[in-house]
Every structure is written in C-alpha cells, then in structure tokens.
C-alpha cells in the first residue's frame, strides 16, 4: 500500500489490514511519522514525538500480531496521547512550563489498556495549559493550528489531539474533556470525539484539572473508531475510587444504521441567541437526516442552560486551585533560579511556571473556596450542578438522545479569543452542562461553513447510555464520507510525487 492509502484509512480499517497482512504496523508508523514531519512545522500538534520508541513498539507488536497473541481491532495502530496523560518514561508536561521536564514513572490506566490492545504510541499532543482553555493557544509550547485553515485555532483543550487526527498525523488520539475539551475541538477540526459517562475510563494517570468533571475519551475519524477505542479504554480501575464497574462496555455492538423510533430531543435553549446561523442550519439538517431515517424529533425546553457556565467555572476552578497546588518547585518540574526562602521559592516558581489563564483560574478557585465565600459560591455551584442533572434526568425520561450544536460558532482566528476570556468561556455553553451532569457526549462532523471550516453536531446521552449516542452518530455518518483537510492531503500527495 502507498503511504497515502495507509493514511487515508480509519483506525479500525488499518487494524484489519494489518491483521490480514496487507500492511504492517511498522509501515503504518513510518507513514504517519513522515506525515508528522511534513505537518508539524505548520500545525504544532505535538509536544513530544517518540520516533524511535514508536518504531520499536511497532516491530514488537507486529511480531505479536503474527504470533496470534494480539487479535484486537486496534493492534498495531499508531495513536497519539494528550500531554496530560502520564506514560512511564515519556515526558508529560500538560503544555506547561512548570512541568517542562517532568517524566512520570507510572502509566495511566487508560494507556495501559491501549498498550494491552497492541496500540503503538507516537508521542504526546499539545493542549491548552493544564487543559484550561478552548483554543490550544494557552500552551507554553506554542499554539496548535487548525488543519482546515492554519489562521484558525483547532479548539481546545484537546486541540493537539484533534488537529493530529484531522491531519492524519495519527489514526486516533486520546483527549480529555472537562467542559467540552474533546467535543469542541473535534467539531472545529472535522473529526469525531466522544466523552464517556463520568467514571467509565479510569482517571488514574490523568493529571487532574477539575477532578469531578474530567474524563478521558477518544478522538478519531469516525464513530466506528470511537466506539472501538472506547471499548478498549473502559475498565473498572481499583486505583481510581470514582471509577465505575460497568457490564455494558460492548460499545461496538451499537454500530447499527438503525434509528427507527429513536426519540431525539432538541433543546430550544441550544438554538437561540448567540448561535451562528450556519452552525444552526447544519445541525438542524443533521437532525432532519435522522428524522428521515425514522427517528422521532421534538424540540423542548431543557432549562438551567444559562447557569451552567458560572457553576462550571466555580467548581472546576475550585478543584483546579487545589489540584495544581502540588506544582511548587519542590519535588519536580520548574523551580525559579533565584529566590529568597521557602515562600519565595513557591511564589517565584509558580509565578514563572504557570501561564496567565492557569493563574486566573487558580485565583478564581482560591477565592470561591475562601472562608466567608464558600457557601455563596462553591456550595451554590454544587446545588446548581444538582439542578442541571435533574433537568437532564427529566429530558431523558422523554428522549433517548439530545441533539444540538457542539459550539456556537466554527473555529475562531488565532488571537481572537484570548483577548476576551469571558467570550471564550461562553463558547463552552453547549458542552459544559454535559460534564456537570456526568453524561456521555459525542460530536460528529456535519458540514462546513462558508469559510470552509467544519461544523459538528453533538449527541448527548443519559448516564451509561453511550450506545444510544453511538447508534445515532453512526446512523448519521452513513450519509457522508470522511473528509480530510486539503493541506493534509497535499502533504501526502507531495510524498507520492517524490
């Protein structure tokens, strides 16, 4: 197979071809490493690329596939991992200066699961610093660019993972989603992203931002890949006390082109003011396609939507202010060169090591937890969270799936969002409440705007009902074929000519 043919495959398609002996894992890794070399100067999707390690792994995995030891659908397929997920012996920075040289001595359970399935790890992808941001511009290692138009952001915080999948720098990637960090960049980059129900994938080894909201999830070219990867990632983990023991993790079983009788609710609150008209049109068109396939559509009032953003920023920042206090220059990571005494060291190391967005959220979080404000902010936010969950519970008593946009607009230009943090926070309006309620959410590409930037449709399911959104997403995407950004295709074509 030519490199272009290999790179055009989805993860599951590649896995099958490797198993069938049509291509080897090593060939796939080489093709993808070449693509990385061509794309990285333009995109900056990766923080760390482990070329040699990847080739070594590929050789070993290939042998085990040939020996019949590895039989899973993803054996031998190269993957990229977001840089807030720890891998033993691989630099893990959270795209922050404060962890510039941090190399963990342990591996996240999610990555252990991947390795057991025969995945080949290429390296670590760029992100907003400590997953705080919606554009991947707050990275200490430079912004990642959108492969559809490098003047635009890829979204965030899993912008590196989504850009890498879109640009064929990997076949799938791991992201993490605290308030939309998988679903929003997936929609900006024209790829598919899934955030499972809270507790489905172990958080052990995921460097925490907002512990009660964080979930790891897959980013891939289509729903089939997402379901296959989720099946590998989901596991009960004794090392994570919030991990749930589930018996319904055969997610690929839901890959059926059948939505007859499926009840789909569209929240009117998700189609109102602030929503870009082109996005609105594309999302409603996606809904109509499912209706044509037999789903029952209904518009309804979800409620509580306007309270999601303040509740989210209070809870996530409060948890972050405590989670990030361990980065103090004492044990690992960045320490200021000159300082006076212990407190001077803390102050300088943290002032120099953290970027402005991280500092803003640490300060916000410290404020809402301080005595005298705890009840007014933190407790109130927790109550709001419970009410949002209740609103969803009511909706799911009527609908199997909730459908809406992933983001009010398509990818903004670089630099546009950072100047106005509040506007950036408002961009998370359709994704955040899913985290607050602990629900699964899936975004699937559903068209492009007049600038040629991708639009995503979001499917939200009830807790532990990933299969519903997988079925809806799969049925929808049967009506379109996967589209690759021109610059990624050009890079491959360039190689063919040589």
């Amino acid at each position: 197979m030519t490199a272009k043919e290999i790179l055009s495959l989805t993860a599951v398609q590649l896995g099958k071809k490797i198993k069938d002996g049509e291509v080897t894992s090593v060939e796939a890794v080489k093709a993808v490493l070449d693509q990385i070399k061509a794309m990285e100067p333009l995109l900056n999707s990766f923080v760390t690329i482990e070329e040699e390690k990847a080739l070594e792994q590929a050789e070993e995995v290939q042998k085990r596939i040939e020996a019949g030891e590895l039989t899973g659908p993803l054996a031998g397929v190269p993957v990229a991992v977001k840089d807030n997920i720890c891998i033993d012996g691989m630099k893990t920075t959270c795209s922050s200066k404060i962890l510039w040289d941090f190399v963990p001595t342990y591996t996240a359970t999610a990555v252990e699961n991947l390795k057991r399935s025969g995945a080949v790890i290429l390296g670590k992808t760029n992100m907003d610093e400590f997953a705080m941001g919606s554009t991947t511009e707050t990275s200490a290692y430079g912004a990642t660019r959108n492969p559809w138009n490098p003047d635009h952001v890829p979204g965030g915080s899993s912008g590196g993972s989504c850009a890498a999948v879109a640009a064929a720098e990997c076949f799938y990637a791991l992201g993490s989603d605290t308030g939309g960090s998988i679903r929003q960049p997936a929609s900006f980059c024209g790829v598919t992203g899934l955030k499972p129900t809270y507790g489905t994938i172990s958080r052990y080894g995921l460097i925490a931002y907002g512990s009660s909201l964080d979930q790891i999830g897959p980013v891939a070219k289509d729903v089939t890949d997402c379901a296959a990867v989720l099946e590998v990632l989901a596991s009960h983990d004794e090392k994570d006390s919030t991990s749930v023991e589930r018996k319904d993790c055969d997610f690929t079983e839901a890959l059926r082109d059948d939505v007859k009788g499926m009840r789909i609710g569209i929240p009117a609150d998700y189609l109102g003011e602030g929503l870009d008209l082109e996005v609105r049109e594309a999302v409603l068109k996606a809904a109509r396609i499912l209706e044509e396939k037999g789903a029952i559509l209904e518009t309804f009032d979800l409620g509580m939507v306007e309270y999601a953003i303040p509740a989210y920023y209070v809870i996530a920042s409060a948890e972050a202010s405590s989670n990030l206090s361990r980065f103090d220059g004492v044990k690992y990571g960045y320490r200021a060169k000159e300082y006076d005494g212990l407190h001077g060291m803390y102050k300088k190391s943290r002032s120099q090591g953290f970027g402005p967005e991280v500092k803003r959220r640490i300060m916000l979080g410290s404020f809402v937890l301080s005595s005298g404000y705890y009840d007014a902010y933190y407790l109130k936010a927790l109550k709001t969270k419970a009410l949002i969950k209740k609103a969803f519970d009511e909706a799911f008593s009527k609908y199997d799936v909730i459908l809406g946009p992933a983001s009010p607009s398509t990818a903004p230009k670089l630099g546009e969002s950072l100047s106005d943090p509040l506007k950036m926070y408002l961009g998370d309006i359709y994704t955040i409440s899913v985290n607050l309620a602990g629900l699964p959410g899936l975004t699937v590409p559903c068209g492009k705007d007049s600038k040629g930037l991708p639009i995503g449709v979001q499917f939200i399911g009830d807790c532990f009902k990933e299969k519903n959104i997988i079925r809806a997403g799969f049925a929808f995407e049967q009506n379109r074929s996967y589209e690759m950004p021109q610059m990624a295709a050009d890079a491959m074509a360039g190689k063919e000519e040589k």
Partner: protein, 477 residues
C-alpha cells in the same frame, strides 16, 4: 493572687493507627526504613495519582468511636485542607471537616471528687505528613515521605477538663481504650499519640470562657502536666496585670519549661476546605457497625472481671495488671505457657512494677518475652533456684531478655541441696562465730538469723533456705 481561677482545658489528640499500609495507598506504615523507601506516586503527591481509601482505617476509627460512645456519621466524607508546606506533598492534607466519621461521645475518668464524664466532640480520619530534615552540612532541607499518608485519627474533646490531673486521667483512659482495641500502640515518645492542649482560665464561678491558647509539641504525660501548669500561671499573671490573653498557638519547650508563641489568630491560615472530589463519600451501613461491634475485643473492665473469675486474682491485682494492655498481654502469655497465673501476676506486680518505677519507664516499654518469664517461674517453682536468686535473674530478663535456664547454668546459680557440703559450710560458720552461738543460747533469736545470713552469703545465695534452717538448728542443739 487575690482571686480564684478556674482552668478550662480541651484536647486534640492525634493517634497513628496500626494499619499495615497507608491510608490512601499500599505503602508500608512500618517505622524507620531509609528515607523515601516506603513511598509511591500516591503518597508523594505525583501528578495523576489518585487516593484509594484503606478500609481498615475506617474500621479502626469506628472501633474507637464506638468504644468512646460516639454517634457515627453513616455518610461521611473526606475534605481537602489546603496549605503549602514541603512535608505535605500535594500541598493539601486529606482530612475530614464537614462530615467527620464520629461525633458526640464521652469517656469517664476517675477524679478525687468521683467519676466525671469528658465529652468527645468528634473523631475524624486524616493522613500524616512527611518529615523535613535540615542538612546543616549542605545547608538545605530534605524531605522524607515515609510517614506521608500514614493514617491518623484526631480525637477532639469538649473543653471539659479543669486540671492537669484530669487531662492525664483522660489521656490514660483514651490510650488504654485504643490499645485494648489494637487500633494503635499510642506511644507518646515515638509520636504515635500526640496531644495539643487548648487552655483558658476564667474567674471561678464565671460561665463565660476566657481566651484560649493552643499548645503543641507535648510528647510525654509529664511534659503535658508541666505545660498545663506553666500556661495556667502565665495566663493568670496576664489577667492579674490587666493584660489581654492573645489567642494563639504556642510551642512548649520542655527543657526550658516555658512556651513561646508560634502564630496568632490574626495570621491563622485559611485552609479553604472543600470535599475531596477524588474520594466518594464513605457509606457505613448498620450491618458494618454491627460487625465492628461484634468484633470489638475485650476492654479493660471485662478483662478485669475475667481475671478475677478465671485466674482468681484479687480485684487489686487485676486492676494493676490490666492498667496496661502490654502488661496484660504478657500476663496472659506467661500464664498460658506455665499455667501459674498467681506467680505470673506476682512477678509482674512486684518486680516488674518496681523496675519500671526505678527506670522511669512505661509498661509499654517492657521488651522481654513471656517465654523467659515463664521459664523463670518454672525454675523457682521446682526449686532449681531460690526466690532471692530468682529476683536477680528477673532483673536480667527485664533488662536484656536473657534465657533464664541458660543464665542459671552459666552462672552456677542452682540451689545447693548437697547435704554434706551444706553441713560443712554451716559447721565452719558456727565455729567462726562463737559469740553468736552464745547469744543464741542465751535466747537472742536475732543471732540465729545472723548465722543463716552468714551461711547464705558464703553460699552466694544458692543454698536452699529450708535445709540451712534445719541443719543450723540441729548443730546448735
């Protein structure tokens, strides 16, 4: 001092639990070990690591709570206490603030005025911190995280105590209960039991509380007693001089017998407590509580009753022996081996207590084995050695845990029963002391005792006293 003052004292007692592993990871809690060898990503606060609660910690906390008559929060939570310090690897301590596991209990203490209830406000579970070591040579500080994550319970009393004596009585009671439960060894010197003292004074008869101070770094009962006396005096002096008592934390220096301020309330830290999102609430079922209750080991009063019943000890003896869990354990072990409860009790109550007093030791510090004391009892009982020699051997057992059988052989301490040898020695003593013989014959009983003593001395105490008496009487006619 013209006015009468009342001292009001409450205690915060930290107790290190006797679990084999730490509270949130599988690392060993064993004392010692090279620095940072009992550590993992969890107890060193590495990014991405997550805590998993050790169920045994909950069980010990429940056992203690039930033994001190507490109510149980059947839905309890862990909270994070946020503060920066290098011994605290995450810069937050996992503790309990909003919903501690136990609350509203009490223990009863004996006071000169009779029994008194000391209220227990709450008991919560938390993790210990690491240790900072300053390296003078390199002029830097090092951290050892071996203790980081060792489970603690903090027992917070109500301000119900009025004197140092009451405080000591409360602490002794608490310690005994916890030791009996096996929840901790409660060694103050090693820090497995630590007490912070909250103290205020007020005019006698007043119902309002005075301003209190908190004293830390108290690592023996004596230090606690001295610190209470010192702080009471200091506060009364301030009040008499018309100066205010400042609410502050003070550190007691037992060598200087004085305290100094560590930090005042004004710079008290805001710990920004909030529920730890990594740990789901601990749900304690009625069944679980029932289980703990049914497994609750014998406490002191039950043990005392059993000793009187089963071993026919007097109430006084049973009281002394059960006064220390360790002493009671030795007693039971010795009795199980040699079957002589009375003898075991005697050795412990008389000789062991005497030596403890002499060396200013706690019963917990006795390290000899039950086997060796049982062997000693056997040696005395079958007449291999006499009681006087036995006492000497016991001192060796107490100090060095020697094997008494081996020791008696090596030192040649067996009782001399050889009739001929004894007779020869006594004949020598009689002929060397004509004055005493004369005194004896003229009716002075003391002279007989003198001659026995001379005989024993020349036999280095190894003579059988019965035989000496008999032969001497015979020779003196």
């Amino acid at each position: 001092m013209s006015k009468q003052y009342e001292t009001v004292i409450g205690l915060e007692v930290h107790v290190e639990l006797a679990t084999k592993t730490k509270i949130f990871c599988a690392c060993s809690t064993e004392f010692g070990g090279a620095p940072n060898t009992h550590t993992c990503p969890v107890c060193t606060g590495m990014p991405g690591s997550l805590p998993v609660l050790n169920k045994q910690v909950v069980e010990y906390a429940l056992a203690v709570g039930l033994a001190v008559n507490c109510q149980i929060n059947q839905y309890c939570k862990f909270d994070r206490k946020n503060y920066f310090y290098p011994d605290n690897p995450q810069n937050y301590q996992i503790s309990q603030l909003y919903l501690p596991i136990c609350h509203d209990g009490h223990v009863e203490i004996d006071t000169p005025a009779g029994k008194k209830k000391i209220g227990i406000h709450e008991i919560h579970m938390e993790e210990d911190a690491g240790k900072l070591i300053h390296d003078e040579w390199e002029d830097c500080s090092l951290v050892d995280y071996n203790r980081s994550g060792v489970p603690l319970i903090e027992i917070v009393s109500e301000p119900d105590m009025r004197s140092g004596d009451e405080v000591i009585a409360y602490l002794e009671k608490l310690r005994l209960i916890i030791q009996y439960l096996g929840a901790s060894d409660c060694k103050l010197q090693e820090g497995s039991m630590r007490a912070d003292v909250n103290l205020s004074v007020r005019e006698a008869g007043s119902s309002e509380l005075g301003t209190r101070t908190e004293m830390k770094n108290l690592n023996s009962f004596k230090a606690i007693a001295r610190a209470i006396e010192g702080e009471r005096k200091r506060q009364i002096e301030l009040i008499e001089e018309g100066k205010p008592v400042v609410q502050e934390t003070r550190r007691w220096d037992d060598n200087k017998e004085s305290s100094y301020a560590m930090r005042s309330k004004e710079d008290a830290r805001d710990y920004r407590y909030f529920p730890d999102p990594d740990l789901p609430p601990v749900v304690i079922s009625d069944e679980w509580i029932g289980n703990i209750k049914s497994r609750q080991p014998e406490l002191r009063t039950e043990k005392m009753a059993r000793y009187q019943e089963e071993f026919k000890l007097s109430e006084y003896d049973a009281d002394i022996i059960t006064g220390s869990k360790h002493m009671a354990d030795i007693f039971e072990a010795v009795t199980a081996i040699c079957g002589k409860a009375k003898e075991a009790a005697n050795w412990l109550m008389v000789e062991a207590m005497r030596l403890l007093k002499e060396h200013d030791m706690d019963p917990e510090e006795m390290t000899f084995s039950a086997e060796n004391l049982a062997k000693l009892i056997h040696l005395v009982d079958n007449g291999t050695i006499n009681r006087t020699v036995g006492k000497e051997v016991f001192e060796k057992i107490f100090a060095e845990n020697i094997d008494p059988e081996q020791y008696v052989e090596e030192k040649g301490l067996r009782v001399v029963n050889d009739e001929e040898e004894l007779r020869r020695v006594i004949e020598g003593i009689v002929s060397a002391n004509p004055q005493s013989v004369e005194d004896y014959h003229s009716g002075k009983e003391k002279a007989f005792g003198f001659l026995v003593g001379q005989t024993m001395r020349s036999m280095k105490g190894k003579a059988d006293p019965g035989a000496v008496n008999r032969i001497l009487k015979e020779l003196l006619g």
